[in-house]
Symmetry: C2
């Protein structure tokens, strides 16, 4: 006690909180809010997603969301912060690397957990320069990194950029705009169709 005001000190952790979750408050509520935020941001985009909608989905009050995360922007950052592991393209023969890269990304998008993060991020990046920068950083690690590691640094940035156009365009049309017949095709067919295009940028 006498440390500082309890409301503003995130280090004051109650006994019921699970250590290691990173949050100062109830772990269950925090997780419920984060899950609801992910789903809401992914489904409606940043502006359309209201704090009240997130709170309702999580079964708590809107002011709870504010106490757990300090602002809507903070909630978005916390909800969308993910640790994706990058591919190691060197483990595959050069002719298979395009397909490997596409499959890796499609797997991420199809995964309900990580996919919602990416969809929310992509949706928001279209209207927020800040998030666009974050997305570029993620893609730099996810694409430019492995490409440079596998091919060397000459022109890797350009190659990665063009690969990003193909992969983001696929995500946009299939998961956000839901263009038919693309959205209904099985994932394997999509991977098979797009792989040669990415392979071309790698060669």
């Amino acid at each position: 006690m006498s440390d500082s005001s309890p409301t503003t000190n995130p280090a004051a952790r109650p006994a019921t909180a699970v250590p290691g979750t990173g949050g100062p408050r109830s772990a269950g509520t925090r997780r419920a809010i984060l899950d609801a935020a992910r789903a809401t941001f992914a489904a409606r985009g940043y502006e359309q997603a209201t704090i009240r909608a997130v709170a309702a989905r999580a079964g708590v009050d809107a002011s709870m969301v504010m106490r757990y995360f300090q602002s809507k922007a903070g909630l978005f950052t916390a909800a969308v912060t993910m640790d994706l592991q990058a591919v190691d393209l060197r483990s595959a023969p050069p002719s298979d690397r395009g397909e490997q890269l596409v499959r890796h990304f499609v797997d991420r998008w199809e995964d309900p957990r990580q996919g919602d993060d990416l969809i929310a991020m992509l949706r928001t990046a279209a209207t927020s320069e800040t998030v666009a920068g974050q997305l570029q950083a993620v893609l730099s690690q996810q694409i430019a990194g492995p490409v440079a590691a596998a091919l060397g640094d000459d022109g890797a940035a350009e190659r990665a950029a063009f690969i990003a156009t193909q992969l983001l365009g696929l995500a946009l049309c299939r998961y956000i705009l839901r263009f038919e017949p693309l959205a209904s095709l099985p994932a394997t067919a999509v991977v098979a169709a797009v792989a040669p295009s990415v392979q071309h940028y790698l060669a």
Copy 2:
């Protein structure tokens, strides 16, 4: 006279209005509002673009925007309605059709007039199912049409969908997210790099 209430009847056109513009009010103001709306929607997206911002940019009052176009949605539709002429792929040898298609689209995006329309539409489509449907209709006419005309109907819809992923992904990364080094490359270099990918989907 005695027809109906003048405020709600769009057919009542004053003598000062220019016939053929399609609008019942002053042609100059209408055009100023439409230009401002295009620029604002393209720059900030649908939700972020406020009627007051459009009005300020056009140099008129916000209520004027409402009287000319009945709602924000109506303004968006009027501002973003464009008539793009589709390519005729049959006029080129099959091996050049990919490049022709890409160049046609990049030319549209780079054109300040039509480009703003498309950027606004793409930005908005990411968060509005209605606009996503409109965009799909435009792309169907711009891509699926020429592809089916050139290659026949077998699998044309799928081919067009994959071509759309590449072309929309390029537009997203270059004109909206402004990823580097992609955004700074000359248009010719972009066309040359992306053309083989589209060509692959055509073959």
